[in-house]
């Protein structure tokens, strides 16, 4: 008995030593939306919550895929101009996507799909379409002609929707919601390079999210909590023909790869879908108009890398961003 009385506190002491290390992450990794995704959740019930978050992403993928013949988006794209009834979930995503187009100053258009297909970015057999073909295809691009009344979508014949620029952001928002509903207060989602933080690290310190340097390595590290960090850049998917580089982010005005002088654009804010739409928008708009949009909206922060190798940071990130050694002295903080 005495032994037990002595051993019990000693054993309790050894338990204390275990508390010094971080609780372990529960992670699931999977392929969805044409990329690889990792959901990591900390704390009790984390494994189950992470798997539920994966289900949320998989379900959205099944609804929103442009290539899957059973998806709601595929049905809409092959409706021949007839009204289509959508599930409330798809309708909600589409409504938010149209809002993002409206706020993008013409930089984002979810009806670009016919042009994207002509470049071959969906099939990996890329080619430069000729001017005449592009002009003809651009006549079928105009998000303002998409009609969404309640859950009924009418897409004019010949037009096609592609939510590729925003789908991962929507998925991250819904997955983060699902994690929070499951009681998780510390989780990190990496949906193909779209980062979404739920809460902060398990020890209460902010998450450290690096931003990719297009030439390898990182530009620097952002400290965030409860934020999405989304980066768009020409380096992510491109092909070369006759010495020229053509990337997958197209300017809806020209139907050609957006050349605004930016090499990459990162948007930081509470919403994954908004940041996903914004990172594309900023990349297409270029430095000056991006800064203008930021001053007007005031609900997001940015990190922009110009093709000349200069970094521009919105003032809200000034304390959160630590550049890598190679980038020190090349950062300009933009004030409101």
């Amino acid at each position: 008995m005495k032994l037990v009385r002595i051993l019990a506190p000693l054993l309790a002491l050894t338990l204390l030593t275990a508390c010094r290390s971080q609780p372990e992450a529960h992670s699931v990794q999977f392929f969805a939306m044409d990329t690889v995704m990792t959901v990591s959740a900390w704390g009790g019930g984390g494994q189950e919550a992470a798997e539920q978050a994966r289900d949320v992403v998989d379900r959205l993928d099944a609804l929103l895929s442009v290539t899957d013949e059973t998806s709601e988006l595929y049905a809409a794209n092959h409706s021949g101009g007839r009204p289509v009834s959508l599930s409330p979930e798809t309708a909600q995503v589409l409504e938010q996507a149209l809002d993002l187009c409206r706020d993008s100053r013409g930089a984002l258009d979810i009806t670009l799909y016919p042009v994207v297909k002509a470049w071959g970015f969906t099939t990996d057999s890329c080619t430069v379409p000729d001017d005449a073909a592009l002009i003809e295809l651009l006549e079928r691009v105009d998000w303002t002609r998409v009609s969404l009344e309640e859950d009924v979508l009418t897409l004019p014949a010949g037009m096609e929707l592609d939510l590729g620029a925003v789908a991962k952001g929507f998925a991250a928002d819904r997955a983060a919601e699902s994690l929070r509903a499951a009681g998780v207060s510390s989780a990190l989602l990496d949906l193909g390079g779209n980062i979404q933080a739920v809460g902060s690290r398990p020890d209460g310190s902010p998450w450290r999210v690096a931003v990719q340097d297009p030439d390898g390595g990182w530009l620097g590290v952002l400290e965030v909590a409860d934020q999405a960090v989304v980066t768009s850049g020409g380096y992510q998917r491109y092909f070369e023909e006759d010495g020229e580089r053509y990337w997958h982010i197209l300017d809806p005005a020209t139907g050609r790869p957006a050349r605004s002088g930016l090499a990459s654009a990162t948007a930081v804010g509470p919403g994954g879908a908004v940041c996903d739409g914004l990172s594309t928008t900023l990349f297409v708009l270029g430095l000056e108009e991006s800064v203008d949009l930021w001053r007007q909206r005031g609900d997001f922060e940015f990190l922009l890398l110009t093709e000349e190798g200069e970094l521009y940071l919105s003032s809200g990130l000034a304390d959160a961003f630590t550049p890598e050694a190679a980038w020190e002295g090349r950062v300009t903080v933009v004030e409101p």
Binding site: R208, V209, G216, T231
Partner: protein
Amino acid sequence: MRSTRFWALLTAAVLAVSLLAAAALYLLAPAGRTARVYLDGELVRTIRLDRITGTLPFSVEGPAGVSVIQAEPGRIRVSSADCPDQVCVRQGWVSTSAAPIVCLPNRLVIELTGGDPGPDAVSG
């Protein structure tokens, strides 16, 4: 007598607990930097990057063909691959757990754990 036995028992108990705790700490201590190579979600190879001394080349085969991988002390890369997009090759050397090397066409994922933790994730 009784007192001697008591102290002997106590010493033995403290010793036993200490040994157990030391063993537990040793076993639970984070391993050095380790690379894990997955094909279509299945672990096909584990390399302790903190234990190899020279360059260790090897290759794996997935649906898009052969990916040639090079491991060196502390880092790993895909040096060449049959995949059409070459995204994995362009990613270059990776030495932290922040972002895995991914080759979508070949369903190949190379993950790093242990060592200097670096950032929690990479946006890009």
